[in-house]
């Protein structure tokens, strides 16, 4: 793989635009939760912005995404409008799911976001089903299925990857390896040295990449997407990354050695990507304009989420089955 080559300028700008929106959104969520303006359980994504942004830059809006409860970066990168997303995080009727899913269950079929699951590993078998539909329909779509390193220790991972490989389904399994499953370091609870090895053990095309390197991540993503669209089957991408703010907000990351965290922050993918843009002659003014535009989007979306009305309580009787449940 051409890990050392920079992606095209337009691609890097695209990745940066998505990643900056994610970074600023994450900061804003943490501020608002800290200030008591939002009362939600929040799984911070700071540090993992580039993985998602590069992956989603390599697919189309109509391609499918299945992700997990730490999914804000995937959802924004895939293109869910910020207003809809913020309103759902706040439990409002104007949210993507009328407030009935919440942060852990974001769904937005218009941008291909089909499932966000709160159960580790459970998205993998469902991603196969979406991809099976594409394979039978011959619609050329691929399904991106995101999960963490911890998910490779649950049975659904092994059942799901095996079936995907046996059926040659057009899925990209994107393992965002941030080295910690909740509070447990990977080496403590994972028997293999890498997640890639597990994919290889299942006979699947498997690659490991520095997910925080926009160009390398994009190249790996693009290759996997092309492989799937050509009908060759799935790829497991193990994208190495890190998270800076705990498993969930309020977690002090006491289980992460200080030096490891310091090094990770030195390797923060966001300033690196920003510098890369400057290096390839994107002007400071152009970058600042992207950042300002994202800030405005977030300002509008967060205010909208606060102001929007809650759904009526009776909404619980709707969408259980196809017909309304009697009171």
């Amino acid at each position: 793989m051409a890990n050392n080559e920079l992606a095209d300028k337009d691609v890097l700008i695209d990745i940066f635009t998505r990643a900056d929106l994610i970074m600023q959104s994450d900061i804003k969520f943490r501020q608002m939760i800290g200030a008591g303006q939002l009362q939600i359980v929040y799984y911070p994504v700071r540090g993992q912005e580039v993985v998602s942004s590069a992956m989603m830059a390599a697919v189309n809006q109509e391609d499918y995404l299945v992700t997990i409860y730490r999914g804000l970066h995937d959802q924004l990168a895939k293109g869910i409008p910020s207003k809809d997303l913020w309103a759902e995080f706040a439990g409002k009727m104007a949210g993507t799911c009328k407030g009935k899913g919440g942060p852990m269950h974001i769904t937005h079929p218009e941008t291909g976001v089909m499932v966000t699951t709160g159960i580790v590993g459970s998205g993998i078998p469902i991603a196969n089903g979406l991809a099976l539909g594409s394979q039978l329909d011959k619609d050329g779509k691929v399904t991106v299925c995101c999960f963490g390193d911890g998910a490779s220790n649950i049975g659904a991972f092994h059942e799901g990857l095996n079936m995907a490989q046996v059926w040659k389904l057009p899925v990209i399994f994107l393992c965002q390896n941030n080295l910690y499953s909740e509070h447990t370091p990977m080496a403590f609870a994972t028997s293999s040295d890498s997640i890639k090895q597990r994919g290889e053990g299942l006979g699947m095309r498997s690659v490991q990449v520095n997910g925080n390197d926009a160009s390398a991540m994009y190249a790996a993503a693009k290759e996997a997407v092309e492989y799937a669209r050509a009908g060759h089957g799935p790829t497991l991408i193990e994208a190495m990354t890190f998270r800076f703010h705990g498993h969930l907000l309020g977690d002090t990351s006491h289980y992460i050695p200080k030096e490891e965290m310091e090094q990770a922050k030195k390797d923060d993918p966001m300033p690196i990507l920003r510098q890369q843009l400057l290096d390839i002659q994107v002007s400071e003014a152009d970058i600042a304009a992207i950042e300002a535009k994202n800030a405005a989007i977030i300002e509008e979306a967060s205010q909208f989420a606060l102001d929007a009305p809650y759904p009526p309580g009776e909404e619980y009787r709707i969408d259980v089955l196809d017909v309304e449940i009697a009171a």
Binding site: P109, L136, L321
Partner: protein, 330 residues
């Protein structure tokens, strides 16, 4: 007319329902362990001939991976397919409960109605043949307790045909429970266009003294008990729920309002069973009109035993139904 009407077996009825659904709608696909003809057409041959007729794209044998099977059904259902997932035996559903309970049942709700999961899970179970503790449990009460799932159990081949077709075409996730010992029981063949709507009970026997409420494998025993009780001058009405969740409360309450006595009968363990819910609802609505508290018949509080001697003692029976009716009618 002296011609005996054509009869078919329960397993054949299920096969015919799937064949009709597949012929009617190209989005109907089937997956499960060993279900394609090359692998034998299913361990109980319920899918025999379907892959030959409709191809292995649409009739797919799978790895032994219940989570992956149900997950593939959930995902394909979300993008326009009407998948039928065969889970060989109901106990194996335990392996896929996360996909069924956390996903199939909830995705419509959690997405605010943006995604739907019109899948059918066919599975079989039933005691009485010495399969022991992990191949014959009746787990319908677990599933009926989950909002968003429909649970169906037919008691005869014609209903199996009509109910399975409706289950496949239903826009909600449906668990269709078949009965292993009942696969080879024959009954009148349905007309090809025979459809039984979900959520509608039937009253296969009318009576005046007591209502026996059951479904699936309990109905044949209810009929036998009703015949015996008639000799004692007790007239039984039978309500066959056909759909366990959501069940046809109107038909149940109407029948019990007439007979003023009821016994709920199922093969599942009696404690915390479907009978508890139905009995409770009858008490809530008709308490002051009842001749006696609602009776319940079910199997014992134990895993299904292997030895025929213990299995027989554990399992609900025709005699249990008769005894319960005599008990409540005094």
């Amino acid at each position: 007319m002296t011609d005996k009407p054509a009869e078919i077996m329960f397993a054949q009825a299920c096969n015919m329902a799937m064949a009709k659904a597949m012929a009617d709608d190209p989005k109907v696909i089937i997956m499960g362990e060993d279900i394609a003809d090359e692998q034998g057409g299913g361990v109980f041959k319920v899918t025999l001939g379907l892959s030959e007729k409709f191809g292995t794209d649409r009739v797919r044998s799978t790895p032994i991976s219940e989570q992956a099977i149900v997950g593939a059904a959930v995902g394909s259902a979300m993008v326009g397919y009407k998948p039928v997932a065969e889970i060989m035996l109901m106990n194996f559903i335990t392996v896929a409960m996360d996909q069924i309970v956390n996903h199939a049942a909830k995705l419509r709700f959690m997405s605010g109605g943006q995604t739907t999961v019109p899948l059918t899970i066919r599975t079989t179970t039933g005691a009485g043949t010495g399969l022991g503790g992990q191949h014959s449990d009746m787990l319908e009460a677990w599933l009926a307790h989950v909002p968003g799932l429909k649970v169906v159990a037919a008691s005869n081949p014609a209903d199996a045909y009509g109910l399975l077709y409706s289950s496949i075409m239903d826009p909600n996730p449906v668990i269709f429970i078949e009965n292993t010992p009942g696969y080879f029981v024959k009954g009148p063949a349905p007309a090809p266009d025979h459809v039984v709507p979900l959520g509608k009970a039937s009253v296969p026997r009318e009576g005046t003294d007591v209502t026996l409420i059951g479904y699936g494998s309990s109905i044949s025993r209810c009929h036998a008990a009703a015949d015996k009780l008639a000799e004692d001058g007790i007239s039984c009405e039978i309500v066959d729920l056909r759909t366990i969740a959501p069940y046809d409360e109107e038909t149940v309450l109407k029948s019990v309002a007439k007979t003023k006595a009821a016994v709920v009968v199922h093969e599942a363990v009696r404690n915390f069973g479907v009978g508890a819910e139905i009995s409770s609802r009858i008490h809530e609505e008709l308490f002051s009109e009842l001749k006696a508290p609602v009776g319940r018949v079910g199997s014992g509080y134990a895993p299904v035993p292997f030895s025929p001697a213990i299995e027989k003692a554990w399992m609900f029976s025709q005699e249990d139904i008769e005894r319960e009716v005599h008990k409540i009618l005094g």
